[in-house]
């Protein structure tokens, strides 16, 4: 593992987490905020493939499970983001992703991520919730994430790409 890339990825996740918890809570829609941490994991998947994305997804998910306002069973976001890393990393790697494919990947990842989180909640009976409320939150979440994609994904993917050649020669 290249330490520079690892540090960059972890820094991106921490920055996304803090922004998501403090800044975007002011613009939340029915309490739903853009899931920036998920966007970083998706960017990793698109640039570097499934394996790094799944590891980063696990780390980011554990952070999301443990960072202060969180009060749910730990490991739920970790599992959701590992699945997101897998989904985003399995997008075709041999062509540079187009804008359309990036947006589609984000939408699919956001849907899968929030759904996996909700499903583990139903299995663990963490909060007892109705399907209608869950679907509403999932839908708003997908909307937010797609809306933020043009601002976040090019930045994060560009940063990861710039760090990529160092890895290829190493």
């Amino acid at each position: 593992m290249n330490p520079g890339r690892t540090v960059a990825a972890v820094l991106a996740v921490v920055a996304a987490l803090v922004l998501q918890l403090t800044v975007f809570s002011h613009v939340s829609w029915a309490g739903v905020v853009p899931n920036l941490v998920l966007l970083v994991v998706v960017a990793t998947g698109l640039v570097r493939g499934a394996q790094p994305a799944m590891v980063l997804g696990f780390v980011a998910g554990v952070l999301l499970d443990l960072a202060p306002p969180a009060d749910h069973v730990a490991g739920r976001w970790a599992l959701a983001l590992v699945v997101v890393g897998y989904v985003a990393g399995r997008v075709r790697q041999d062509v540079r992703p187009t804008a359309g494919s990036v947006v589609a990947t984000v939408a699919a990842s956001s849907f899968v991520g929030t759904s996996v989180f909700a499903l583990t909640g139903i299995v663990l009976q963490d909060p007892a919730l109705g399907v209608g409320e869950v679907l509403q939150v999932v839908a708003i979440g997908v909307f937010w994430d797609v809306l933020l994609t043009p601002f976040v994904l090019p930045l994060v993917m560009g940063t990861f790409r710039r760090l990529e050649p160092a890895r290829a020669t190493a």
């Binding site: 029915a30 905020v33 069973v73 399995r90 041999d94 989180f117 708003i140």
Partner: protein
């Protein structure tokens, strides 16, 4: 190097036949690259299994052990590190949040004054006309006064982080922690009413479970009839967030606009008595359920939480000014 190899075939494809001599070499190289890239895209099976098992064991550890969970110290440690960062970020953002309110027009403010005057008049009529209402208010006032007489003090704190609704739990971070005298199971309120209770503290921050959370249950009392019941959250934030009140005496029907206040627990933990929670907006009863279910609209606007107070025992040592029960600041 890898990027070069992978872009060349595409360029070659757009102008075929220009360099026929190198075609086979190109194709050969492309094959190699594609194979490598496919390798890169597919995660090793052992890694997938390891990560999923790690997630599952983390969940099992945390859910089986409950409050004495081994994850709790880790959670606290992460909070100690991320808490100050959240406090700092919120302090940076706070001035910008106020920007939209600078652009309110004169007419806008005039309209608001009109609305407030109308509401004032309506409230005054309500208080003056019905004896019943007056009694109810007296009782309600008495309860809040009782809360003041309990001798509790308030530690002021600001909300610095809001848990996303994607996590399906309604929790916030506040910028006061054990240094300010906070402990778990303390009541959190603001000038409108009950906000929630402290579930976890770090040195500089605390996590507050809001009463609208689906896991939250508060002992409640209907101000007009003194009937007891439990107030449960629905897990919805924002202006549509409602609470459900279930009275112990199923024959008792609360009235519309009845005030619901906290019942209070022994020693004031987790909730002190007499804090206003909300007002009754509708009452439902079904043949299946033996109890009445009243819908309570909370007084607190949970989507716009900022300044809150944490109820601490009088005389608590704190790193900041404490508001005493008589209103003085220490």
């Amino acid at each position: 190097m890898a990027v070069d190899l992978f872009e060349r075939p595409t360029r070659q494809g757009s102008s075929p036949g220009q360099q026929p001599g190198r075609g086979s070499k190109q194709r050969e190289r492309r094959w190699r690259v594609t194979a490598r890239l496919e390798d890169r895209g597919r995660p090793s099976r052992s890694l997938v299994v390891a990560l999923v098992l790690a997630c599952l064991s983390l969940m099992t550890l945390d859910s089986a052990a409950g409050d004495s969970s081994p994850v709790e110290p880790v959670r606290r440690a992460v909070g100690e590190v991320l808490g100050p960062i959240e406090v700092g970020a919120a302090a940076v953002v706070r001035p910008f949040v106020a920007v939209p309110s600078w652009f309110r027009t004169h007419g806008d403010l005039r309209g608001e004054i009109g609305d407030l005057q109308a509401e004032n008049a309506r409230l005054r009529t309500e208080v003056n006309t019905a004896d019943y209402d007056r009694n109810r208010l007296r009782e309600y006032d008495g309860l809040t006064r009782a809360a003041e007489d309990l001798g509790y003090s308030l530690v002021p704190a600001r909300v610095v982080g809001l848990g996303p609704a994607q996590s399906f739990s309604s929790t916030v971070t506040i910028d006061a922690g054990s240094q300010s005298g906070l402990r778990p199971d303390m009541t959190v309120l603001n000038n409108d009413g009950l906000v929630g209770r402290v579930v976890r503290v770090t040195r500089t921050t605390a996590t507050v479970l809001l009463i609208v959370d689906a896991d939250s249950v508060v002992g409640g009392r209907v101000g007009s009839s003194m009937e007891l019941g439990s107030v449960e959250g629905r897990g919805q934030l924002g202006s549509t967030g409602r609470l459900d009140l279930e009275l112990i005496d199923s024959s008792e029907v609360p009235n519309r606009d009845d005030a619901v206040v906290t019942w209070g627990s022994e020693g004031g933990a987790p909730y002190v008595a007499g804090v206003p929670i909300g007002r009754v907006t509708a009452v439902y009863s079904s043949l299946r359920e033996t109890a009445q279910r009243a819908v309570v609209e909370p007084y607190v606007d949970f989507a716009a939480l900022d300044l809150v107070g944490v109820v601490v025992p009088s005389g608590t040592a704190s790193d900041r000014a404490v508001i005493e029960a008589d209103g003085s600041v220490r």
